[in-house]
């Protein structure tokens, strides 16, 4: 099912929070210009019109480029509470972007600003899907565990037990849609395999998952993450974010450690360097996570893609591209269908 806006001109409209991010608005505008060179996307830059017009004037737009500006008079900064988006700054750029999605004037929103502000804008101005309390970040582990995804990667530091169930459902849809796994195995990350392990919330989540009807394989320990025991690893956002960043750093450290160890044997060292560059480039893990709908706030009733605060133009263009792909893949509709099964059973 295609969105009505998309159907009208064949382009997917992506609203971009032009004022959010460490290098905003310059790099955001640059990234938007890059992304807009593809003929199936229309970018709506949201922010201060005067500043954005000046930035856009720096670029030579091709005939096929499609970029518009929508005014947002306020900006929410990293040092402000993300909750301020609701009552104090409802007209900030990320909030206006979310409202465009709600109104159907955009098909997706991309923001490199505060993740909290983007999540809160999504919750308040777009709304959550039935049965979902808060959005979650889902990502594929890529290289070492290509058939494994992890949820939540950092959107929810403290979680209530029922959130773990919605994380599992989101992860399951991701694994089906993007990894082609028919009946994904769901594992709950904990410190042991016995049912009594974990925090109070994790123990309660265990019962919910066990009775959910999902393909739940029980607790997964840290040493099972990469071995394929589960396709969807469920954890709170605190644990998920720490693990993700640790995981992303492994390639680079393994390479430099091996190079140091083999310093005395230059031919061997050169060979190892070559192997690492070919097989385990340090950036591969994170770029794979980014590509396949990574950074999407799952559970929102619209596509919202958050990008790293330090994103430069190529990462912004990539975020716009992946938001577009998520719209094309109908991830929201798929998740709605899956959630409906659980809502009907009174499990959410």
């Amino acid at each position: 099912m295609m969105d009505k806006n998309m159907a009208q001109n064949g382009k997917i409209k992506v609203a971009v929070d032009a004022m959010g991010g460490d290098y905003a608005p310059e790099e955001i505008v640059k990234g938007a210009v890059l992304a807009s060179q593809k003929d199936d996307v229309e970018v709506i830059l949201v922010g201060c019109v005067d500043i954005l017009k000046k930035e856009l004037a720096e670029h030579k737009l091709t005939n096929s480029s499609s970029i518009h500006i929508v005014e947002a008079k306020e900006v929410i900064t990293e040092d402000e509470s993300p909750v301020d988006v609701i009552r104090r700054k409802p007209n900030c750029s990320v909030a206006i972007g979310a409202k465009l999605v709600k109104l159907g004037e955009a098909d997706a929103l991309v923001s490199a600003g505060s993740t909290g502000a983007a999540a809160i804008s999504a919750i308040q101005f777009i709304g959550m899907l039935d049965g979902v309390y808060r959005p979650a970040l889902v990502g594929s582990l890529g290289s070492f565990a290509p058939n494994t995804v992890m949820v939540d990667l950092g959107a929810n530091v403290d979680c209530k037990p029922h959130q773990y169930l919605t994380f599992a459902i989101c992860g399951s849809v991701y694994a089906k849609k993007f990894l082609g796994i028919d009946n994904p195995k769901i594992g709950l990350l904990s410190t042991g395999q016995e049912p009594g392990k974990g925090t109070e919330a994790v123990r309660e989540a265990y019962s919910l998952l066990k009775n959910s009807g999902l393909n739940f394989v029980g607790y997964i320990e840290g040493n099972d993450i990469l071995n394929g025991k589960a396709n969807v690893i469920v954890c709170d956002g605190f644990v998920g974010n720490v693990l993700l960043k640790f995981y992303e750093s492994i390639g680079g450290y393994a390479k430099s450690w091996t190079e140091r160890k083999l310093k005395k044997y230059p031919p061997l060292s050169a060979l190892v360097k070559l192997l690492f560059d070919r097989l385990f480039p340090s950036t591969k893990i994170s770029s794979e996570t980014e590509k396949r709908a990574g950074g999407i706030l799952w559970g929102v009733d619209g596509v919202v893609r958050v990008a790293h605060g330090a994103s430069r133009a190529p990462q912004i263009a990539n975020a716009i591209e992946s938001a577009k792909e998520a719209v094309k893949a109908n991830v929201i509709e798929s998740l709605k269908i899956e959630l409906a099964k659980f809502n009907q059973g009174g499990k959410l």
């Binding site: 509470s81 909750v83 609701i86 009552r87 809160i120 209530k160």
Partner: protein, 81 residues
């Protein structure tokens, strides 16, 4: 439905707790509501009753009972006007 019942339903829906556990003595901490839950509840109550709850007033609420009493007084004030 009384104002108290309506406010309780709103808070229960937003925080996803069973409304029976929300008493007049319950604090937001008791029902594990975070800052986003609280702001969402304030906005939803404002929209439902057509009133405004300034942040400085909201900060004075010690428990659910204080919240309800404030809403009741504002609704009564509006009706008098």
């Amino acid at each position: 439905m009384t104002i108290e019942e309506q406010v309780r339903e709103i808070v229960a829906r937003i925080t996803r707790v069973d409304k029976s556990i929300i008493t007049r003595e319950s604090t937001f901490k008791d029902i594990k509501a975070d800052s986003l839950d609280i702001v969402q509840a304030l906005v939803a109550v404002e929209e439902t009753f057509g009133i405004e709850i300034p942040d400085e007033e909201a900060r004075k609420f010690r428990n659910f009972g204080d919240f309800v009493s404030y809403v009741e007084s504002r609704v009564a004030q509006r009706e008098r006007v």
